[in-house]
Amino acid sequence: MTAATPVLAPPTSMRVTPTFLIGATLVGLHVVVGLLTLVWTPYDPTAMTGGRLAPPSLAHWAGTDRLGRDLFTEIMVGARIALAVGTGAVAIAAAIGVTIGLLAAFASRTVDDVLAATLDILIAFPTLLLAMLIVAASDGASLGTAILAIGIASSSIVARLTRILARRVLAMDYITAARVSGTGWLGIVRIHVLPNIWPTLIVNFALQFGLAVIAEASLSYLGLGAPPPNASWGRLLQEAQATVYTAPFGAIAPGVALVSLVIGLNLFADGLRDVADPTRRRR
């Protein structure tokens, strides 16, 4: 099957809202910092570089943790881990979810009913609990396991959304018209279904990304995420818990990082919808 090659040039006018700008800036900042840690960090993230539980200073922007490691460095590395987990988990959730959702939408009523019921049961199960079960069932906590667990646990929501959206598109006359003119079901998926459900899906992916970041922090907080010395935000929060009254910055700093990324992702998701959907675009 050949790829759809549009006869016409891509759209030129895009509607960029302040919401989208703020979201994109916050996410962009995290991405830049995360990528930066691959080549440079202020200190070695595992080296003890200062006094223990030191408050923020010029040398240590976010202070140091209980072992004297530079907290700002650890938060920077944490951004990379959060983004890696989010990307991986959303990619897995999208691959599994969209496939199952489309199959259900096209399947006969009986198969669809079974799939829909299974999805409803999976969704009723808390994502975090499911992810914990998957981690517990695997060889042990690692970054890869966390990504896989969160991805699989989030896929049921993507699948259900895809199924509903695809069903709505399939009921349209232009699908019947396409079928009358001899388009097979793969062609219908590629030409009509995916482009039409894409704007809503992409928004959901951005939201799922935020949820995955929180899920990873939660897993790490519980010791089920990336094992130490990986500087996950969840692990930083868990470690700072014991000293939250004496050295509050140890909890505040990773907290701010986590919240700013998730808020950024949600604002970004909101703005994406306006960009992706031409019927919402102002001329």
């Binding site: 759809a4 090659t5 549009p6 006869v7 016409l8 006969s108 009523r109 349209m172 006359d173 232009y174 019947t176 018209a177 396409a178 079928r179 009358v180 003119s181 001899g182 388009t183 097979g184 062609g187 030409i191 009509h192 482009p195 039409n196 704007p199 959907d277 031409p278 019927t279 001329r283």
Partner: protein, 269 residues
């Protein structure tokens, strides 16, 4: 000359309840056939059965031969090839008949390209675009090169229906099924679209199966008319004859209702 579409004693059932029973009709090349009846009389279902696209859960029996091939009982794979080559459809609501997220030009281009692949050709982008604008000019859309870039929501209802007709024409079908193609349009646009359909059917020597509940519209669009009521054919014949001397009480009612409407307009003028 073989008929393009031959339906013989078609029955459609849903959950044991008959929706259409014993309908027979045929459309030959260059022939314009009207199927009229009130909402729920089975007009659209008959058309869907003709192209093998009945909704899930409905079963058809009898015989539907499209371009000489049996549709009832055929697998989807067998019918897909047949559909594009033999038949195209135009629907009532042009807004849902067009993909809201695709530019009109791209939607027509998709059909043009599919037909080219079927014929074993691979036209260049420029060729496809030329054919698209050609088709758009054919259905009297203004400024095709510019309008090709428009999304359906940026066009008027009449323009959308013309674009849908252009897509149907792009298949080069031998049979055109028009399911209430003018119902969603205002009266002046209606007349234009009907005239366009008539011209195209004549020039391409297509068969036309025109479905409507609107008597005056059917009267101008077809040569032969069939009246459907509660899933059964109650009357059929040349359009002038049926309208002048309706035999079945239901047809009499339909014609009188339309006449009363005309008189009311005449009195108001």
């Amino acid at each position: 000359m073989d008929d393009l579409l031959t339906i013989e004693s078609l029955s459609i059932r849903h959950a044991g309840r008959p929706l259409v029973s014993g309908v027979s009709l045929s459309v030959a090349a260059g022939e314009r056939v009207g199927l009229i009846g009130e909402s729920g009389s089975g007009k659209s279902l008959t058309a869907l059965a003709a192209i093998g696209l009945l909704p899930e859960g409905m079963t058809a029996s009898g015989s539907v031969r499209l371009a000489g091939r049996q549709v009832i009982g055929a697998t989807d794979r067998e019918v897909v090839g047949l559909r594009g080559a033999a038949v195209a459809t135009i629907f009532q609501e042009p807004l849902t008949a067009l993909d809201p997220l695709m530019r009109i030009g791209d939607q027509i281009a998709e059909v043009v390209r599919r037909r080219a692949r079927r014929d074993g050709r691979s036209p260049s982008r420029a060729d496809v675009f030329a054919e698209v604008t050609g088709l758009m000019a054919r259905v009297a859309l203004p400024d095709p090169a510019r309008l090709a870039r428009a999304y359906p929501h940026e066009m008027s209802g009449g323009q959308r229906q013309r674009a849908a007709i252009a897509m149907a024409l792009a298949c080069r079908p031998r049979l055109l099924i028009a399911d209430e193609p003018t119902t969603a349009l205002d009266v002046t646009t209606q007349a234009e679209v009907l005239k366009l359909l008539e011209t195209l059917v004549r020039e391409e020597n297509m068969g036309l199966l025109f479905i409507s509940h609107d008597l005056p519209v059917v009267g101008t669009a077809v040569d032969r008319v069939l009246v459907l009521r509660a899933g059964e054919l109650v009357e059929e014949g040349p359009v002038a004859e049926v309208f002048r001397r309706p035999r079945h009480p239901y047809t009499v009612g339909l014609v009188e209702a339309a006449r009363a409407f005309d008189q009311a307009i005449g009195a108001a003028l």
